[in-house]
């Protein structure tokens, strides 16, 4: 459990590359500049570090293949240290001083909202490669992560079929959790079930003893728990410790996004039902190739998670758009992407939905098994129906809102 030598070297290498890249004068005049803005330290770095690795892997691959349009792609990356104020600062730096051609990054919704307007004002194309609550409607942004409806639509019927109609929801008390809880409610009811209770927990709650007692009072057949972060991981642990695991079924739309299932022991994690775009256990040639490349670059594939793969796919989608547009200029690239460009990534086929700038992708219903996620059922090309309800960029190209989707 000490600082892994390879990580150390990796960090040093990253530092030297970043160091070499920093003074913008040294950049080759004709290189394409890609800005990256991620929390690679601080409390969100479990999400951010693998995303950063995925981003560098993708760019390395592009450059090894001769770059884009014959030009090298250079990465300018900033660590926001899990501090929202630094997002604004680095966003300004990327757009004004570095004048990058595209920015990939942002993890929390708050961080995305902190920089989205800066990107829009400065006319810098922006990719947000994270699973989030949905509803952002802005022609300048592309979102390659899954949204709640995409997960819930397939997860809830599966989980209810396996357990029963009475559902208790435990959600993280912020935007994502609130919205996801409403989607869960909708799909539970559509599938003939009943939500017996919904509880919200701020992200720093780590004692769920009383909650577990409460759940037993409502006696549901299924608990759906879109809980987020380190503190909330305690729930899954305390749930198992109380001996509840074999009594009431458990599903989640978030557990595993940051590889949380690898922290839980098999006894604690096994059987939890989830739905994502990616799983390390996906048995496809693309995923095998991706894992090999990752292993060659970083030595160990255990860090790969949903968000890392989203980032990788986001870069590849952007690269595809640039190729199609024949330029890195913002509008032609947006228009190219709006033709419904798609790629086949480690998680399968992923296409840009022209109406919302979100992604149509494969969603897999999985069960946690021995610290891995075993695919139980796959739904191909699920559209982001939640955002589609509120957002139509083809009709309103000037829209610039994050809608709260009313259900």
């Amino acid at each position: 459990m000490s600082l892994n030598r390879r990580e150390f070297l990796g960090a040093t290498a990253a530092l030297t590359t970043a160091g070499a890249l920093l003074p913008s004068a040294t950049l080759a005049a004709d290189s394409i500049k890609l800005g990256s803005i991620l929390d690679t330290s601080g409390i969100f770095d479990a999400y951010g570090k693998p995303m950063d690795q995925a981003l560098r892997l993708a760019i390395g691959e592009i450059n090894a293949g001769g770059g884009l349009l014959g030009r090298e792609v250079d990465v300018l990356s900033y660590d926001t240290q899990s501090d929202m104020a630094l997002y604004s600062q680095y966003a300004q730096k990327l757009t004004r001083q570095d004048q990058v051609d595209v920015v990939h990054g942002g993890i929390l919704s708050a961080s995305r909202e902190a920089i989205r307007q800066t990107m829009r004002k400065s006319k810098t194309l922006y990719f947000y490669n994270v699973q989030y609550e949905g509803g952002v409607c802005d022609r300048n942004i592309f979102v390659t992560g899954v949204t709640p409806s995409q997960q819930v639509e397939v997860l809830v019927p599966y989980a209810m079929k396996k357990s029963g109609p009475k559902v208790h929801i435990l959600a993280a008390d912020y935007n994502y959790g609130q919205i996801t809880a409403r989607w869960i409610q909708k799909f539970v009811e559509e599938n003939g079930g009943e939500v017996v209770a919904t509880d919200f927990f701020p992200l720093d709650v780590s004692d769920f003893g009383s909650t577990i007692t409460k759940i037993q009072q409502t006696a549901p057949d299924l608990v759906v728990a879109p809980l987020v972060g380190g503190a909330h991981l305690s729930f899954f642990r305390q749930w198992a410790a109380a001996g509840m695991k074999d009594k009431i079924a458990l599903a989640s739309t978030t557990m595993g996004v940051g590889n949380e299932h690898k922290v839980l022991t098999p006894e604690e994690g096994n059987g939890i039902m989830v739905a994502y775009n990616y799983s390390q256990e996906l048995d496809t040639p693309e995923n095998r190739a991706f894992k090999e490349k990752w292993e060659a670059a970083y030595g160990d594939t255990s860090a790969i998670h949903e968000l890392a793969v989203s980032t990788y796919q986001g870069i590849m989608l952007w690269a595809e758009g640039v190729k199609k547009a024949g330029t890195v200029d913002r509008m032609p690239v947006i228009e190219a992407l709006e033709t419904g460009i798609s790629i086949v990534g480690p998680a399968g086929n992923i296409a840009i939905d022209p109406q919302t700038h979100h992604a149509t992708l494969d969603v897999h219903v999985m069960e946690v098994e021995n610290q891995g996620m075993t695919v139980m059922e796959t739904f191909n090309q699920v559209a982001p129906v939640d955002t589609q309800q509120v957002c139509n960029l083809q009709e309103n190209p000037d829209d610039n809102t994050q809608y709260e989707i009313q259900i």
Partner: protein, 340 residues
């Protein structure tokens, strides 16, 4: 402090004019703006702690409150002038209530620390739980953990379309800081300021002289909070989003660290400490070798151990020693130690 007032004011004006002219050539104005705002926030604690002896563990509460009040009222009003004023007034009013409760209760320093800390935590926890649609003030959704984005930012008073942003925002913030520094200077030179310093030195004596210590501490506390509130409102304009993190204990900790590093009992110290450390943090974000929290922590420990007076007083006495001029005034050593 007994230098002639005119010289003091002239010095401040010349130095700040120079800095405002030169700094944008060295650092981007966008980053400079936040350094100026943090400087103001540092000064707000420096005033009540360094000159009033009130160690507030929750200065971030006032910073966050200022930012939230601004954001909420800006969403509702759609123009920035009144929200700026509200941000200052509401924060000051809140601090006055809190201060009156604490100071009339004759709480000791440590207890004061606990209460300010707890109030910050309550605000932080409360704001964090407001993600649901039921938490609305007028047209403004509180937004919980994600905060409030997309409010009206600073505009020319009366003209909501004439945004003040970018370089202009920097100049507005810089001038605001200069005005605050001048106000603080005036305050410290006035009877009120001299009495505040007296209270810092010995509360009992000041009470026995007939001064209502609790009332005066409350007022000073509110003044400090008002400055923090103004800094918060400016920050909201700069970041264009407010999040509960503004209330976090980490933020409070940073403000205290700025004051210690810069130097208590001076006006310049907390400003220099704030701007310097915030810039250091910004620079550290561009490397990934050493964890930044570690560096901030080390800085604090080393300063407490080896330079408890802070940078500015230390440099000032070095300067005096090397130049060998000026009055031989004993620098007030370890001032805050007495408040244990």
């Amino acid at each position: 402090m007994r230098r002639p007032a005119a010289r003091d004011v002239a010095g401040i004006l010349v130095a700040s004019a120079l800095l405002i002219a030169v700094m944008p050539m060295l650092i981007g104005t966008y980053t400079l703006t936040v350094l100026v705002i943090y400087g103001m926030l540092g000064l707000s604690l420096g005033l009540i702690w360094g000159f009033g002896g009130i160690l507030c563990f929750g200065q971030a509460a006032f910073f966050g409150l200022g930012a939230y009040v601004y954001a909420i009222s800006a969403v509702n009003i759609g123009e920035s002038t009144l929200p700026m004023i509200l941000a200052v007034l509401v924060t000051a009013g809140f601090a006055a209530l809190l201060g009156a409760m604490m100071f009339y209760g004759r709480l000791g320093d440590v207890y004061l620390g606990v209460i300010t800390l707890v109030v910050t935590l309550i605000l932080f926890k409360f704001i964090n739980t407001t993600a649901g649609p039921q938490y609305v003030i007028g047209k403004a959704r509180l937004g919980g953990f994600n905060g409030i984005p997309g409010f009206q930012t600073l505009n020319v008073p009366g003209d909501p379309e004439a945004y003040i942003w970018g370089d202009q925002l920097f100049y507005v913030c810089a001038v605001a800081l200069v005005i605050v520094v001048l106000l603080v200077t005036w305050l410290l030179r006035s009877s009120f300021g001299r009495i505040a310093v007296g209270i810092r030195e010995n509360e009992t004596r000041m009470a026995l002289m007939g001064y209502d210590v609790a009332a005066r501490k409350t007022v000073l506390f509110a003044v400090g909070a008002a400055i923090a509130g103004l800094a918060g409102a400016l920050f909201a304009n700069w970041a264009e989003i407010v999040t509960p993190n503004l209330f976090s204990l980490g933020q409070s900790a940073e403000i205290i660290i700025w004051c210690i590093v810069g130097g208590l009992g001076t006006r310049l110290g907390p400003i220099v400490g704030a701007a310097g450390l915030a810039y250091l943090k910004f620079m550290l974000g561009q490397q990934s070798m050493i964890d930044n929290t570690l560096i901030m922590g080390l800085v604090l420990v080393l300063f407490v151990l080896f330079l408890p007076r802070g940078l500015v007083p230390a440099v000032a006495s070095l300067w005096r020693a090397s130049v060998g001029r000026g009055t031989r005034r004993r620098p007030s050593r370890h001032r805050r130690l007495r408040h244990g």
